[in-house]
Amino acid sequence: MPESAPFARVQDLSAAFVRLVEITAPGIVTVQSNRSRSSGFFWRPGLIITADEALSEEGEIAITPPGGDPISAQLVGRDHTTDIALLRIGRADAPPLQLESPPVAVGALAIAVGTEDGAPTAAFAVVSRSAGPWYSLRGGEIDARIELDLRMRRSAEGGLAIDATGRAIGMTVFGPRRRVLVIPSTTIQRVAARLEKYGHIPRGYLGLGFRLVAIDDGGRGVMVMNVDPRGPGAKAGVHQGDIIVSWNGEPIRHVRSLLRALGPDSVGQTVTLGLRRGGETKDVQLTIGARPST
């Protein structure tokens, strides 16, 4: 039919997107927790990743694989700083999805695949932002800032963003004002591997309360406002009123830099803190502890 010829390319594009959903959907599951429904995907045999923010804080969790019945799932661990939660189910027959980290160009097409009641859902997007590593408001290290220009249904949170070649580039979650962010594959692999091994993401702990202060002779530091009597800071001999001006010889300009120095790998490390105490300078050795869960 000659009339259809001009539409052939649009039909090809449409068929290509249908195919992208077809190859992804078998790995996407519905995640149900107390008063919340979202999506998740098979990461490794028997292990499912979903968005932490969409998962209830308590109660039973169930997942529904494509076309199947709900199965009870156990929480392996969750990290609210990177919005990643790991679940386990008692069977490992579903094929995990391959996560990949190709370069993501602004303007590239992508599709967000989720589920609702065990049936796939899809949304079509343009990559609206693609930038380097960033830190979430809660201090989680996220390897790339990828945003999709798309209006996503709530139930699709925790699903996957698929690029035009069918590669899963990361998990779709909601950012500020319901913008859709992608938690990149690299971040998921790193965090989920830790969750699988330890059940949580350890964070460094000093046992000190800080406030940023300007120092009279110029520069900045953080003043110790309170000391946990059983914390690492107290053990190292840090006192209330001390001003910490350096960390392993590096000047401290922001509390933020302290927070970043207290990442998962910091626990057990010994650092040299440069203090100002009553106008005198003093170095102390502090062994970073693990933040107690409250």
Partner: protein, 115 residues
């Protein structure tokens, strides 16, 4: 009770209002009160370039900056997880609206961060 209000006009109006309430008595200059009424001026005085935040938002911000989860924030403030989530969402939107997404810097300038 005693009043600690700088604004003279407001102090006089409050005094008039509180004088005739049964069971309530404003103390004399040399008496010690059971209750002191203080007018907080903190809400309306954000530091240079800071986003104006309510006292509750500031509390949430501090906990957020410490890397606390919604559940921990709820427990810390004695509110429900649902309410904590709402506050966190509103705060993130507010900071994002003015292009400031660094919770830690905000919180550390205004309060004490426990690390």
């Amino acid at each position: 009770m005693a009043l600690n209000v700088e604004d003279k006009g407001l102090a006089n109006r409050l005094t008039a209002l509180l004088t005739n309430i049964p069971g309530l008595r404003l103390v004399r200059a040399n008496e010690s009160p059971d209750v002191v009424l203080v007018l907080s001026t903190e809400v309306s005085t954000p530091a240079d370039g800071d986003v104006p935040l309510t006292p509750r938002e500031l509390e949430v911000l501090t906990l957020l900056a410490e890397g606390k989860s919604n559940k921990e924030i709820a427990r810390g403030l004695g509110i429900s997880v649902h309410t904590a989530k709402f506050h966190v969402g509103a705060l993130i939107d507010k900071l994002d609206a003015v292009g400031r997404t660094d919770a830690v810097t905000h919180a550390a300038r205004r309060g004490v961060i426990q690390l």
